[in-house]
Amino acid sequence: MHLEPFKDRNVAPQSAYFHVDIEDYPTSGWDRFKRVVDRTFKGELFVGLWVVLREMIKFEIHTVQYPKEKLPIGPRYRAVHKLLRLWESGYERCIGCGLCEKICISDCIRMDTRIDENSRKEVTEYSINLGRCIFCGYCAEVCPELAIVHGGRYENASEQRAHFVIKDDMLTPLDLLKAGEQAEYPGFGAIIPGSDALVKKTPLAY
């Protein structure tokens, strides 16, 4: 059955919704007797038996054997954060602007920066207190460099939540980057596909 007609919440007579035909309860003893006879010889019980047997024969199993198989999660899913690297140079994308620290509504991001020997702002410390993080996604949305994004890693088991957000764990390792394993984040705050074509030259007279 196609689901489209049911998305129309307007329950009008011509819509796909209809009232289920429910018989009135029998009032007299004779009616009750007739219902018993009806139910006894109508074979409704065998319909039920056939339905479950049919499902057993068809053998369409919907079980996901979880640790071995996993369901795909949506690209906009907001699990534990990741810090990405630049593709060509392998530098951290984070420029230490501090916008994520500023916008974080639960105040759980903390960063320290310094000016390194190339006069480039370098992030020395970056931590997220996951005990307070509400996974709202504002940090990923506000980041101008697509440096902090949400990952899909939702299976976390450790003695301390802080273990999931050590900066080295969040940052893409260099060998994975070289192997091309770093995935661009398609979810919250990311640029849409084909956005390069939409970039226009800024008029000089502006």
């Binding site: 019980l45 039920g48 479950v52 047997l53 369409e60 054997q65």
Partner: protein
């Protein structure tokens, strides 16, 4: 009574005990698998190939679990109740011929512990004593749910004893013997001689009563999980609870044997083919127990009583009367 007879009988008892204890465990495995497949699930999969060792895992768990006796229970009765259920289930098996007689190295083996001439009466009677397991266990448990379950089990089992007894009366009138071997031999002529053709009403009635006596799903109100937790089993843990379970599943197998022997020709003429046919029939009835559990809803206790006394019992009595009239003329 010679020594050989005693040894043979003890050997048969041990074999039946071992085989049906193991089958009760395997029965839980099949139940979980069949229910899972009917609900588009996989069932147990992780312990062993296809979850087959789940039975062993459950057994180890039940055996090694702490045997908790709650504080306010009536201790001796609480302790003995599960034993009653399991013991009566296996005692009932004494008069059931599981297999036609066969000869091994010139020695004829009768795969029946005691071919007593009141066979079916004995089987039904001992199964009826099984009522005391849930009844005493529930009443001794100091738990309201268990008490409700005990009351229900007393009502249901006693009521449906009437149905199973009355429905069997008509075929027994035709056979003229209470021994299950005689009943089997009465239908030896093949499929057209099966009692189910001459006594279809009795067959249906006894089948319905079998569901009530084993407490299986349409009549599962003795331990209805969504109403009264596990009923009489609520306060039990470890192997005492496991004994209830073994008793229930052994009962399912034995009542399947009884139905197959009385109404569906049993093992027929006693050839190997007939013996395997008996196993197939038993397998079907056991499967049907699981099948209905997946398909049918439970009935309320009052509906069950209504069905028993106002519908099934009059039909059973009418069946006996009609059979008598037909036999007379």
């Amino acid at each position: 009574m010679d020594i050989a007879f005693i040894i043979e009988t003890i050997a048969k008892i041990v074999v039946i005990l071992l085989v049906f204890s193991a089958l009760a465990g395997l029965g839980t495995y099949f139940e979980r698998k069949v229910l899972a497949f009917m609900q588009r699930r996989l069932g147990p999969m992780h312990v062993g190939p296809f979850g087959l060792l789940q039975v062993a895992a459950d057994g180890i768990k039940l055996f090694t679990k702490e045997d908790i006796i709650p504080q306010n229970v009536v201790k001796p009765i609480f302790k003995i109740a599960p034993v009653i259920t399991a013991a009566t289930a296996f005692m009932a098996a004494a008069a059931i011929p599981f297999w036609p007689q066969f000869t091994v190295m010139g020695y004829t083996v009768h795969p029946i512990v005691a071919d007593i001439n009141v066979g079916i009466l004995y089987v039904l009677g001992v199964m009826a004593i099984g009522l005391y397991g849930p009844l005493l266990g529930g009443m001794a448990s100091a738990n309201k749910w268990s008490l409700i379950s005990a009351a229900r089990s007393a009502a249901v089992f006693i009521s449906y004893e009437v149905i199973s007894g009355l429905s069997l009366l008509a075929p027994l009138m035709m056979v003229g013997s209470l021994s299950l071997v005689d009943i089997n031999n009465y239908q030896v002529g093949g499929i057209t001689h099966w009692l189910v053709w001459s006594q279809p009403v009795a067959f249906i009635l006894f089948w319905i009563a079998a569901f009530a006596e084993t407490g299986r799903t349409p009549f599962h109100l003795v331990a209805n999980d969504h109403e009264i937790i596990d009923g009489f089993g609520t306060e039990y843990s470890g192997m005492r609870w496991g004994l209830f379970f073994i008793g229930e599943y052994a009962n399912m197998f034995f009542i399947s044997f009884v139905i197959a022997i009385i109404f569906l020709g049993g093992f027929g003429d006693g050839t190997i083919a007939g013996a395997f046919q008996l196993l197939l029939k038993v397998a079907f009835f056991f499967f049907f127990f699981l099948w209905t559990r997946a398909a049918w809803p439970d009935v309320r206790p009052d509906q069950l009583m209504w069905l028993c006394w106002k519908v099934l019992m009059p039909i059973a009595v009418l069946n006996v009367v009609v059979t008598g009239i037909v036999m007379m003329f």
